[in-house]
């Protein structure tokens, strides 16, 4: 636990250096910032919208916004928290947009989970095809269950259980107080359990 904290602290201090470098005019520093956070942000976007291509577009949007706003970054929070906040807000806006809802209505029938997430490959050389198939099926069910959650509950559960953020970090990212985060997370987990009863 302590090592994890140390690592995050090291990362945070590295982020600060890179941001300062960027603010001083070194554009290349932004690439390093992206490299450190792109997968986490992409993963968050993916579990938010449940589609690989949409997640890619959303993650691009998130970093593009970050690039524009980074000059005015005031170091009041960690860069990771800041970029997560941008990501959550961008994803929420997308989910609430008319275009997205319209697209969801006319989604293709062959738009399966396996086909839409080429990045999700559970690498387990020892696993048999049956186990692999079972895992994929579980993944599809979990994704469907998470997608059915309201965006606030979704944000909390994804940030906590998939991204591994602490309650405090979630509170900082979402803007909810700690008690709200706890209660929302408890209800979200309860909902998921109800939805996935007998499957997992």
């Amino acid at each position: 636990m302590k090592e994890k904290k140390k690592t995050s602290q090291n990362l945070a201090s590295k982020d600060v250096e890179l941001i300062k470098a960027f603010q001083s005019g070194k554009k290349a520093a932004f690439d390093e910032l992206i490299l450190g956070h792109k997968d986490k942000v992409f993963n968050l976007c993916y579990w938010f919208v449940g589609d690989y291509q949409d997640a890619n577009d959303l993650a691009q949007d998130v970093f593009f916004k970050a690039f524009k706003a980074l000059k005015n970054f005031r170091f009041e929070s960690a860069f990771s928290t800041w970029i997560y906040r941008i990501a959550v807000n961008t994803c929420k806006n997308r989910l609430n947009s008319f275009q997205y809802r319209l697209k969801k209505k006319f989604v293709h029938l062959n738009h399966t989970a396996a086909g839409s997430n080429p990045g999700v490959e559970i690498a387990d050389e020892l696993s048999s095809p049956e186990i692999e198939l079972g895992k994929k099926e579980r993944m599809r069910l979990i994704k469907a269950a998470i997608n059915s959650l309201p965006s606030n509950k979704k944000a909390v559960v994804v940030l906590r259980d998939i991204e591994g953020l602490s309650y405090e970090e979630i509170s900082s990212v979402t803007g909810f107080n700690l008690g709200t985060v706890k209660s929302k997370l408890a209800r979200a987990r309860q909902d998921l359990r109800e939805m996935l009863k007998g499957e997992i």
Partner: protein, 357 residues
């Protein structure tokens, strides 16, 4: 601790954020309650499952795509897109409508302009010709609106064939004449009679338009008949009628579609003991000349006061015009520019001779 209360704490219990006392109470309840124990186990499995999910990685070209978006490569299309899409300038619909209407109106006016610019002089002439095209059968003698002193004699009667031809043309006449007049020149001449016998008279010669040759011959024949007829002459003979009476009689004849004679005035004058005027002699000479030239007389206009011919309208072939012109020169001195008429065979020109003392 009851079941609902304990279930609310499962999430925090799994995350290990419960305080020790609450945690102890919850563990004690779960040991006693099978449902809660099962629910906790299910929730633990779910969270375990969620935490073991492999993170989805961004595509390899993620940073490249982002670079393209942040720093777009130079391209003409991108510049155009930046400048014009979306269009920054909003054009009001009212302005567009007003401009379109103005363009439409201007184009319509521009297209109609040639007709508007048609010379007034020629337009005045055109109805005169069409009026003659609509002449009723038989010689006619009717006063014109041009002057109260003038009366027009139309020394022709058209055959049924000619009438049919003319009726078919009636509606087109104005347009046709207008077109012809647009293109052809109007030549005016003044002739002062040479000899002392002939008093000085001014003859204005105006070639106006072409007429079909077939029609001309027919008209000429009719004219001859009417000229030689003595019906009116015999009726009028022995009467010391005034000129007004003569013309009133002629007007009545018009109604009956009988033929008034151009020579009637001279005949009347002769009978009334009045000598035939020089102008009338000249007129007769001109009639003969026109006949020789295979032309025809369309109408003769007489003065109300004097009874002398004041104008003569005739049609002659274009190729005979030079001869006609020469003969006129012999009669007197021509004033004004010489007629520049291109000699084209099978075409007729209409001449109006205005005789004034």
């Amino acid at each position: 601790m009851n079941c609902p209360g304990s279930k609310k704490l499962f999430s925090e219990y799994i995350d290990g954020v419960l305080d020790p006392d609450t945690k102890a109470q919850l563990e004690e309840h779960v040991l006693q309650c099978t449902d809660c124990r099962r629910a906790l186990e299910d929730l633990k499995a779910l969270v375990r499952e969620l935490r073991t999910i492999e993170p989805v990685k961004a595509p390899d070209d993620f940073i490249d795509r982002l670079h393209e978006r942040i720093e777009p490569r130079f391209s003409f299309g991108k510049i155009i897109k930046t400048l014009f899409v979306p269009i920054r300038i909003k054009i009001p619909v009212q302005l567009v409508t007003a401009t379109a209407t103005a363009v439409l109106v201007f184009s319509i006016i521009h297209l109609q302009q040639p007709e508007k610019q048609f010379p007034e002089k020629l337009l005045k002439d055109a109805p005169m010709i069409s009026e003659k095209e609509e002449v009723k059968p038989g010689l006619m003698k009717e006063p014109t609106e041009q002057s109260p002193e003038r009366k027009i004699y139309t020394p022709k009667s058209a055959s049924p064939k000619t009438i049919a031809y003319k009726k078919s043309k009636t509606n087109k006449v104005k347009g046709i004449v207008s077109k012809e007049l647009k293109t052809e020149k109007v030549i005016e001449l003044a002739l002062v009679l040479k000899t002392d016998i002939y008093r000085k008279s001014a003859l204005k010669i105006t070639p106006i338009k072409a007429a079909p040759p077939a029609e001309s011959s027919e008209v000429h024949d009719e004219e001859e008949k009417t000229y030689t007829s003595s019906s009116l002459r015999s009726r009028m003979a022995g009467k010391a009628a005034t000129k007004e009476e003569v013309f009133a009689g002629a007007a009545k004849q018009d109604k009956k579609a009988e033929t008034p004679l151009p020579a009637q005035s001279s005949a009347l004058k002769e009978e009334a003991g009045e000598p035939e005027s020089d102008v009338e002699k000249i007129t007769e000479k001109l009639k003969k000349l026109i006949k020789d030239l295979k032309g025809e007389i369309k109408s003769i206009e007489y003065s109300n006061k004097t009874g002398h011919p004041i104008s003569l309208t005739a049609v002659i072939p274009v190729d005979k015009y030079s001869v006609f012109y020469g003969k006129l020169k012999e009669m007197g001195t021509l004033h004004g520019p010489a007629p520049a008429v291109k000699e084209r065979k099978k075409e007729m020109i209409r001449i109006k001779l205005v005789i004034s003392k």
